[in-house]
């Protein structure tokens, strides 16, 4: 077993050096320019002038305000809604359906959904068209600022709609580690109402596993760029977008401003995560007495069934909004003429698909190439680490919890640190090494973000794998190699293929990482979709957004279908 141990340490170290160290280097490479040091543009004077410049910039204040309000509202909203849905719907007839369908909702990329949703709710959107002119009385689209509103409400709404399914999935996974039904039963027999039992017993047990996802969502909402460009306020935009604009400004002096802004954003994220952590501790203290205060006399009221009804409607709303968002993309992409109040296009055409097809070839190929490479590499690395880890762990019965916690935080690091806060530093680094704009660098940059998801989707599966199968195989075949490839890998083929698809879709959705590392040499479907969404023809934009959805979907479907086909005669898998 020592050999496995040694290999595990080696590969983990290698992964850390390759993928976590760069994050730190990227941070450093951002902090130095933030303090006025960026030799490539001749800035060598260490000072806090760039930071002061950001703070006194006329856009900063309202930009930060919109960022904070949308991120906090979206995170809190999505978290509360998801937990409330769990509480209301667990054990109901919709629950098993939720468990099965939640992955489908998640499979729709944020960007494609955001664009579709914008086509729904904008003043000239589908909803307004369906209401006009009969109900609304509008014959021309009203002059309302719904999309890109200065309070970032539409951005917030889309973030909530996309993060609720994510939290739901995480909650379902967290509930897998203990018996919720029995817990509720016991609590009911002790006289607790369902909502009390849920909060005091189920939620409390779930929360430790929801903490990291919650932090990741908060950080993501604070620093999202692509969605924000499409839905967020424009003058000024959200802070991350503003930073991105500064970086991209023709005047290179603005890079210092960008770096300073990026560092401030990181500070903001850190402080908010710290506050969230403090809030947790405070709640822990405040509610510790309440937790043991005993059951409150349950009052029979019609409220319970009403709230369950509302929960179901909310769930349906989630689905309907997703389906409508995709449907309107589809309609737009086939539209040739669609005047305002008509519910459907008056003329249909394939012209825009053909047009987009001409522009699509290269980005689509790039996306698929980078996605396949990064997913394949991520799965290989993660499988190696988890295999060696499981060989070691199966024999260790105690004392690993703190080190595995640390490992988990390290793995989550790229998900917790705002991308815009270290990608500039990485860009500087790559330019210095003459690696900018190379396919290798792009795959590597994607891997930083793909690896965590890949690890998280596979970790449980590997740790739950009964190691006696592997031992039995080794005893029978007298070969570790053969046992690994002929027994363990095929037995885990289904989750591995699924994890490949997740990794692929994470790679496809990368916007900033592609923008900063590709050096303009590689367009992916995502960067093109963002570029087209702000300004180009709606119809082309719709077909690009659909492709951004379809490509990962295709991989998902394949990844589910192949193992099912291979094992179609095997009930035991």
């Amino acid at each position: 077993m020592r050999a496995a141990n040694y290999k595990l340490i080696l590969v983990s170290l290698g992964a850390a050096v390759l993928f976590i160290l760069p994050v730190l280097a990227g941070l450093l490479g951002t902090w130095l320019p933030a303090l006025g040091y960026l030799p490539s543009i001749g800035a060598r004077q260490i000072s806090i002038a760039p930071v002061l410049a950001v703070l006194s910039h006329p856009s900063s204040y309202s930009s930060i305000q919109a960022t904070l309000s949308s991120a906090l509202l979206a995170t809190a909203g999505a978290f509360f809604i998801s937990q409330w849905l769990c509480m209301q719907l667990y054990g109901s007839d919709s629950w098993s359906w939720i468990k099965r369908s939640i992955a489908l909702l998640l499979a729709v990329p944020h960007l494609a959904f955001g664009i579709g949703f914008a086509f729904l709710i904008s003043p000239s959107g589908w909803i307004m068209r369906l209401l006009s002119p009969d109900l609304s009385g509008f014959n021309v689209p009203p002059d309302w600022l719904i999309i890109n509103d200065s309070y970032a409400l539409s951005l917030t709404l889309v973030l909530i709609l996309k993060e609720v399914p994510f939290f739901l999935l995480m909650s379902v996974a967290a509930m897998g580690s203990f018996d919720v039904a029995k817990t509720l039963q016991v609590a009911a027999s002790l006289g607790y109402s369902r909502s009390q039992a849920w909060l005091k017993l189920v939620f409390v047990q779930m929360y430790p596993q929801l903490r990291l996802p919650l932090y990741a969502v908060l950080s993501y909402s604070l620093s999202v760029v692509d969605l924000s460009i499409i839905l967020g306020p424009t003058a000024p935009p959200t802070f991350a977008v503003l930073i991105n604009q500064w970086y991209g400004d023709a005047d290179t002096d603005f890079r210092l401003l960008g770096a300073a802004g990026a560092s401030l954003l990181l500070l903001m994220v850190t402080v908010l995560l710290g506050l969230l952590f403090a809030l947790e501790k405070l709640c822990c203290k405040l509610f510790s007495k309440w937790l043991l205060a005993g059951p409150k006399k349950p009052v029979l009221s019609p409220v319970a069934s009403v709230s369950r009804g509302i929960a179901k409607v909310t769930l349906v709303g989630l689905w309907v909004s997703t389906i409508l968002a995709l449907a309107v993309l589809l309609v737009w992409s086939f539209a040739r003429q669609w005047r305002f109040p008509s519910a459907l296009p008056s003329k249909w055409s394939l012209k825009y698909w053909q047009l987009s097809w001409q522009q699509l070839g290269e980005p689509l190929l790039n996306t698929a190439l980078v996605g396949f490479c990064s997913a394949a590499i991520a799965v290989s690395i993660v499988v190696a680490i988890l295999h060696w880890q499981s060989q070691r762990n199966s024999f260790v019965t105690h004392g690993t919890s703190s080190s595995s916690q640390l490992l988990l935080w390290l793995i989550y690091l790229p998900m917790l640190v705002p991308q815009v806060s270290f990608l500039f530093g990485i860009q500087v680094l790559l330019v210095g090494l003459a690696l900018e704009g190379k396919l290798v660098s792009l795959v590597w940059a994607h891997l930083i973000f793909v690896l965590p998801y890949c690890y998280l989707t596979l970790a449980k599966v590997f740790l739950q794998f009964d190691n006696r199968f592997m031992q039995q195989a080794m005893i029978l075949s007298q070969s570790r190699w053969k046992s690994f490839w002929m027994i363990k890998m095929p037995m885990l083929f289904t989750p591995i293929a699924f994890s490949f698809a997740i990794s692929f879709s994470v790679s496809v959705s990368q916007y900033l990482a592609t923008l900063y590392v590709a050096g303009g040499r590689f367009d992916t479907i995502t960067t093109q979709t963002v570029a087209l969404a702000s300004g180009a023809d709606d119809r082309i934009s719709a077909s690009f957004a659909l492709w951004q959805f379809c490509l990962p979907l295709l991989v998902f479907v394949t990844a589910i279908a192949i193992p099912q086909f291979c094992f179609r005669r095997r009930k035991g898998l």
Binding site: M1, R2, S394, F395, V396, T397, D466, R468, F469, Q471, Q472, A473, M474, I475, L476, S477, Q478, S479, R480, S483, M486, I487, P490, M491, F493, F567, R569, R570, K571, G572, L573
Partner: protein, 224 residues
Amino acid sequence: MRQTNPIVFELQKFQLRLDGVAVFPEISIQLTAGELLVVMGPSGCGKSSLLAAIAGSSGSEFELYGKVILQGRQLCDLPMERRQIAIVYQDDLLFPHLDVAGNLLFALARGNAQERMHSVKRALASAGLAGFEKRDVATLSGGQRARVSLLRSLLAKPKLLLLDEPFSRLDAALRQDFRQFVYSQIESMNIPALMVSHDRQDCPNSQFYALQDAQMQMLNGGYV
């Protein structure tokens, strides 16, 4: 009997320690070819750990003392895949992605494809499972799975068979049936076997090895 047959498997002053504390007293056991020894003891006395240690799959937290000798070879430093010891658990651990023949072929040494398939067929026929080659293992009954699992272990031509409560998942009727099957297989393979159990009916000759006392004991309570 024991003096006349050569000793094939031997534990010499064998002991397992966990954090310096002995899991069970120092034991010495000798087995001849075709002999089955049943090890019994209260739960938690380290029966399964003993088998794992002999098979080489026990964890690094256990310290091993004494010698494990199989056909004159010291085993303690060998990795488990080179010890030529089969271990059968109450869970059959059949590989779910392979059919019955696939499971058996996996254990067979390389060689002529036809001959290998022939050995599989012969083995299945000997267990009353003729024609089961293409069956999905998930569709087998508990008793059939147990048989296939044992056949698989024996096809790897082990020099020692370890059985970790192999009958405890089976109902009473099947248990008796499978027990006879195991005994006859051990006899025909002519290898020593060590079985951990807590069912007194598993003991041949009405005697067993009491692990916590480190000596042979009669089922009626007397010592051998």
